[in-house]
Symmetry: none
């Protein structure tokens, strides 16, 4: 892996565009021995043509054997080492619901939970209350007032909510209050380092108030908080790679992760037509577009092999419209594998396809895991893909004389 | 490579077993151009079936181009970075003969050597005296008494012996006394750091006494000492990977390396039947078993291509008994290559086979170097194999949300 500084130092100005199309959770497994994966099974004449014209390969997110969440999966595709650049859970929760964090905000992930009359946790998820009940309880907690900080409590889904504290001097380093098991009371939000002591006091006060306000709301009669985090202070993608960059994504999480590294984003309607129409509209003003398709991952998580095939086939019909835009590089891949057979993200390497006039073509004539295995892109790290794309877009100068 | 802390942080409790079968020195070379390696030439219907059901690949011990000894070879297979986690030579020597080192013992590798009347070394191996003579001389040195330390002098083989000093306050950091060439006297065991000064004095005294006691024992009339080392203080394998672990190995060296990382071990009889029978007996009480076969390496070191083929074929007949135990993951590989053509360990990547229901199958239908090259496991690092095995055993949670 080349580091960001090295790549940045080699940037050379050039008018060339890169389109990164992410089919979330693209990688898969066969449902039976000697079967095909969804990508292998899908009829994808357009992606196959690009595979024939370019290189295919597999990329390994995070590290061998490690299953990435959506955050690390995308951070890797964006060229960052996903182990070095970790997103705090509170921040991820804010990204997921499109909450617009400010630089000094402190975010945490909250769970409503159940405590018994002794104060011990009996259910860490409060019986998975409905999202509607969650929203109502969040409105109640939103009324908590603590001098010197503004408080935001936003429902996420079922028992999950987002807590954001806004005010001067808030610091990371507050311990989670989730004891991680049943039968003990919630832990205190203690300061893990000196500069977090004031913040810990504020969180303690929030927790104490929440206990009072939720007392008769069983099973959701208490809260657990974890992943206290602020926006990270990372090198920004447009600067590091010299690309005016935009995210074209329908879900807040993915616009959020892109925003975290400094990409612009644009609102997109719900259809595939909206997605690719938006790409066509914005690409003239940008050098790099990240286009995100969620439904492949959803189908995998649902264990619906056929639906994943259908999504891939549908997306394939839009590929000619990307080609028509004539970017120097088209990179099609996933952020991780989500095999329908496992109904979850997995550690398996992810197929990718990179098409550019500068490719050293390989023998692959189709896009799918088994053909990627012998492809010209080899088995690389996820964060190798950005330097590869830049090189094929003729945006990197020689290293050394 | 994922680091130990990262992997440890993702552990998730699960009832699944992993069997690591190490055929020592498994990797090979063809004896003539366009020939087959021993593994390729061997008839291995059972391993071939596992190869077809799982993934194959090659792992690189230590780093490309580096030929590993047995210690680093196994340390890598156990998931540790073999460059970061190095075993001192004295400790390795102790492991090799099954000497039970205590935490504060200081071990060194000894050679009997020849010095002339001026005290200069004329043969660093004392004409490779027989192991019997070595044992007799070790008994002589065992009589040396130094106040405050207990001394153990154990014959290893030919001119090689083990010195162990036991007592309070012994420290690493004593320079070797082997000058590394002929014509100079043995070097003094000087302290390389302040805390080793007391220890260096003790070693000097041992060396002085040895010179007197060996004066008329030419050609073995002096000793050379090197590799002063104590047991390392490493993270323990069972804790790091959350696996109740046991070594099933016939040679002290391999039980010793396993013990160094905290695995249990069990005495095993000399036959292959003993080896696999022991595995069957102990696996119910463990999550991870490391089974070690030495004869593949021996055959390679002897330059005996056919014998290596025969050993591999013999081991293949036991594979169904491992399958019968129904572990979630069967991982078959070597700790390094020992090509009969080279009669020694080598730097060549080592074939591996990982079989689990969660594998993304590759096209390989046979187990052998040439088929591993295009396999789904790619060309990975040795220390990638443990995270991969844990992932396939469903023992790792997602990284990030």
């Amino acid at each position: 892996m080349a580091d960001l500084e090295l790549v940045h130092g080699l940037l050379t100005p050039y008018e060339s565009k890169i389109v990164l199309l992410v089919l979330d959770g693209l990688g898969g497994l066969a449902m039976e021995p000697d079967g095909l994966t969804s990508l292998e099974a899908a009829r994808t004449p357009n992606m196959d043509r690009l595979a024939a014209e370019g290189i295919v390969g597999l990329h390994q997110p995070v590290a061998p054997g490690i299953t990435p969440g959506s955050g690390p999966g995308h951070i890797g595709l964006f060229g960052y080492d996903a182990i070095q650049y970790q997103i705090g859970r509170g921040v991820l929760e804010a990204l997921g619901i499109g909450f617009d964090l400010l630089d000094d905000d402190l975010a945490a992930r909250g769970n409503f939970c159940t405590i018994d009359s002794d104060g011990n946790v009996t259910d860490r998820r409060a019986g998975r209350i409905s999202t509607e009940v969650c929203a109502e309880l969040c409105s109640e907690l939103q009324r908590i007032e603590i001098p010197g900080v503004e408080i935001f409590v936003e429902a996420v889904r079922e028992h999950r909510f987002l807590l954001v504290l806004r005010g001067p001097g808030l610091a990371e380093g507050v311990a989670e209050t989730d004891p991680g098991h049943l039968g003990d009371p919630p832990s205190d939000p203690v300061a893990e380092r000196a500069e977090a002591e004031g913040t810990a006091t504020i969180v303690q006060r929030f927790v104490d108030e929440a206990r009072i306000r939720l007392a008769d709301r069983s099973p959701a009669n208490m809260v657990l908080l974890r992943g206290f985090a602020k926006l990270p202070d990372w090198p920004m993608f447009p600067d590091v790679f010299g690309l005016r960059s935009i995210a074209v994504a329908q879900y807040p999480m993915y616009r959020g992760v892109a925003k975290l590294v400094g990409m612009d984003s644009v609102p997109v309607g719900a259809s595939k037509e909206d997605l690719f129409g938006t790409l066509e509209r914005v690409l003239p003003d940008y050098d790099f577009a990240f286009v995100h398709v969620k439904d492949t991952d959803k189908a995998g998580e649902d264990g619906d092999f056929e639906s994943k095939v259908n999504v891939i086939e549908e997306i394939d019909t839009y590929i000619p419209r990307i080609v028509e835009l004539d970017p120097a590089v088209i990179l099609i891949t996933g952020d991780h594998s989500t095999p329908a057979a496992l109904r979850s993200h997995s550690w398996h390497p992810v197929p990718f396809l990179l098409r550019s006039p500068n490719c050293r073509r390989d023998e692959a004539k189709q896009f799918g895991e088994r053909w990627c295995l012998g492809g010209g892109g080899g088995l690389c790290r996820s964060d190798d893909l950005m330097p590869l794309a830049l090189a094929h877009a003729e945006r990197l100068a020689k290293f050394g004389a």
